[in-house]
Symmetry: C3
Subunit: 388 residues, 3 copies
């Protein structure tokens, strides 16, 4: 059954969406028991606090004696978030601003109550702490109840490579996280970037779209970790440099110089990480994380990686990043994607787009991602239903 | 059973509301299978796009080769609204900004995909297009699944008269559409306009209210189309120019000149169109349309009609409209009505006003309108219940 | 069973919360059939209108012939609030701006219709009026269907004392009313005020917390009215002037002068009134009312009382109030409390904090208040469920 056929009968599309990707459709708040990025390492100076929301959970990050710690951002007593006015009277602890309940950042145990010395609750109450790992300048937090897996299981191959340096930004996008992953992994949406100033000035070619040539060549890694789908753009597709309507050319892409090539590989990995190689320049790889915040928001991490041979190269990369990559590429180019995800939110969030959408052959990459995520994502996190 | 008696027993009023006007109460998003105004003709230059929401449906209007077209404002593929960045690469088509899916504006068929030449989905997928008619400078769209009826069936008598010219404005009001119709057709609400600067400066008389004299004289047209209720103000009511409290005069209206008369006729027509004749001047007729947008919003069209004998008269009318009618009458006077409808929204929208209201004899016009609409409105459009 | 033990098993805490304080948990909009403050007397000049929302009901206050009146703020006819444009054409009445329906402020009867003299609805329709009492400069309204009780039943002892003068302010806080009462009566939350400029400049001592010494000494008045819980701070607790962590002093309070004492008594009274005596100065008593507006809002009344022996003393108090108490104490100090209540709203409002909270021994005062309120509050007012 071809993707395009599913599309022509919406009723059939609906039922097949629910049959094929049941856990993916449920995972409005992402996948549990995975590592997700929480912040950048440089945001956390000693004693600094940063509050984030990950998969619907409020998490407070801080650095104590050099190490980054993550603890539930809510006092066990009356539920207030520490982050409203985070207090630290002794390294390795956080105290609540309301009644002085004080927790150990390592195990979440209530170690003292500033307002009530010797209180019987001391030592008997605790809150959640989260496993943390810092790698390549990014702070990762393991969300879920299982024992933390190896960090490398939840990162694209190459992300942890030595002799590379990574720089990036993060920001909040007003759409569900899945619209983020699908936008990033969708090769055909390149059409919407055609007027980006970036397109003419850079050293990679930007076609209007891609026609699948050999779809079976798409590679699904679903046995070992990390698990992902790898799409070789340069092999599996024919790039479209002339857009036609009824056979008439209506758009024609600028192709300056033989050396221009499209990005060779695009891949996506559980729990929802994109890798575009190379991008936005032949010397760079771009990673993107779409961390669920709520049903209608995700935190968008954009990270660029470059091979470096020493501190000189790092310095050069840092200067370039500030001068060029941050504004022109990560914003100038990717702001279009943010806009596109937000434009989809109403359809998928309020009008059941998951069953009404009508996919076409180039969406096979999305189909394969959804299938993999639905079958192999460790734990589904559906939207919280709270009693009110 | 008199209207006032129904009122004195709210419990009885509730049940009778549901018994008498069941389809009217359901029609939170208006009546299907009717023509509704979408915009003014002059808003749509060739190639221009205007996005509107009618009866809960998102509709994209444009003009192609001189003709106004209306198409569903959402791509079949991933549901995004074209109107976020409407694209037209060839007259008679609209292309989606996301992946270049391109539709024929005449039949909604997917005619090409800019990013994927020869895609198997071409020709197999389609989206909704709407019947359009332009009359008297107004663009009408037929909303519903039936074959479109004649436009004249859904317009007040006289609206299409030759040798007349029409000018108007539209704007969004924060109330359900029914509160718009009822506010317009309610003759007694004239009380709230008593301090409008318009009242003393114009050539029509403004009483404080109307006491029903011969209620049976109200005419209900419920057999042929258009169907409506006609209330002859000058015959069926006694205008109240002195407002009293316990027999004491507390307000007394200025009546300068014998020539001042009240508007002779007020009528309302399915699917919800008001006609006040003459108004706001003995030389003018005012039409009002209250097009449902959502449960809590409607688009308010105010249109003035004048008999003209040639281009000179049209020119004179246009100059007057800009100098006087637009600001002083359609805004200065009717802004009060907008304010009143919005002040009712909470009661009817959130606190079940339909069963709690207590009507009185002058509301017989509203009762007759609700009865007609409930019995004869072609198709009820209740609020969409979407899966989330 | 100690409070701290309940806490250590959240599941047990949940069920016990519902078992112990069922009516308190239901009372999201407060307790019916009690007197609640509506406004200050000085806000209502003759003929002035003030609209308030109390326990979810919209109430319109006005002064007619010297007396304060309270009437439902919604016309019986089409439900619009009078307060959008309150009209009075004759002392003792209110007229609706929409159609001139006019009500007697004493009994709520429809006494005339300005737009329709002699209308049959006159005298047959009525809306709710509320019992009003003005005492100590505060306007109290009895909300509920029972015959009004004596005002003194719903006020802390001493509030109505002769030879005292009261001055205060009110404002809207974005939290449920119960978080207001509990914040006020909670002695341990004093910790969060430690950096208030007020603390060092005033004549009362501010410890960091209180350790219960003799909890059984807390007095519950649950037989006669008013009913309340009285906590003798100076007798039942050991104030904590040194805050320690693992035995190490991390905060040490300034104690200037032997004369500094803590407030002697804190008490709370049905339907939700706090008394702190003395506070914020040895010459003053502070009363606080937390009047439910909606599930997520309350009106916060802060009133200071001082013994006066004549007009000279009143004058002195008024000058001091403007110069010092209003800004430095009622704002400078209590703004922290407003902030704390709002910081708790999400936990209690959206995440079922009532069953997730984990109380500790100093919260015994809150436990006793909840128990009393649940058992003795006259009528529970749960959130309105309206048909839409």
């Amino acid at each position: 059954m071809s993707t395009s056929q599913e599309i022509s009968d919406p009723a059939q599309a609906t039922s097949s969406a629910q049959v094929k990707w049941p856990r993916y459709l449920e995972a409005t708040l992402g996948f549990d028991n995975h590592w997700h990025p929480a912040a950048f390492d440089h945001e956390l100076a000693e004693g600094e606090f940063v509050a984030v929301t990950m998969l619907g959970e409020k998490v407070l990050l801080t650095r104590a004696k050099g190490e980054v710690k993550a603890i539930a951002d809510g006092c066990a007593h009356r539920g207030v978030p520490f982050s409203k006015e985070p207090l630290c009277f002794k390294a390795g602890t956080v105290s609540c601003w309301y009644h002085g309940w004080t927790y150990d950042l390592d195990d979440g145990r209530l170690v003292d109550v500033l307002t009530s010395p010797g209180s019987p609750v001391i030592g008997k109450i605790g809150i959640k702490v989260y496993p943390v790992q810092v790698a390549q300048g990014v702070v990762f937090v393991f969300i879920g109840d299982e024992e933390p897996h190896a960090l490398s299981e939840d990162l694209p191959p190459g992300f942890l490579d030595e002799d590379t340096h990574l720089l990036g930004i993060r920001r909040t996008v007003q759409s569900n996280w899945r619209l983020g992953v699908e936008n990033g992994f969708d090769t055909t949406h390149i059409f919407m970037h055609r007027n980006s100033p970036w397109v003419s000035g850079n050293r990679l070619a930007f076609p209007y779209g891609f026609v699948p040539a050999d779809r079976d060549a798409m590679q699904v890694y679903d046995e070992n970790w990390p698990k992902g789908v790898l799409d070789r753009l340069s092999e599996n597709y024919m790039p479209v440099f002339e857009a036609t309507l009824d056979g008439e050319t209506v758009l024609s892409a600028e192709l300056t110089g033989e050396e221009k090539k499209v990005a060779a590989q695009v891949s996506v990995w559980l729990p929802g990480v994109l890798k575009v190689d190379p991008f936005p320049d032949p010397t760079l790889i771009q990673y993107e994380f779409y961390v669920p915040i709520s049903e209608t928001q995700h935190e968008y991490f954009q990270v660029l990686q470059r091979k470096v041979e020493g501190p000189e190269d790092v310095k050069t990369f840092e200067v370039e990043f500030e001068e060029r990559w941050r504004d022109d590429a990560l914003h100038g180019f990717n702001d279009d994607d943010v806009w596109a995800r937000e434009a989809q939110q109403e359809f998928y969030g309020e009008r059941d787009g998951w069953s009404k959408e009508q996919l076409f052959p180039p969406d096979m990459c999305i189909v394969k991602w959804r299938t993999l995520a639905s079958e192999r994502g460790r734990g589904v996190r559906a939207a919280r239903v709270e009693m009110s």
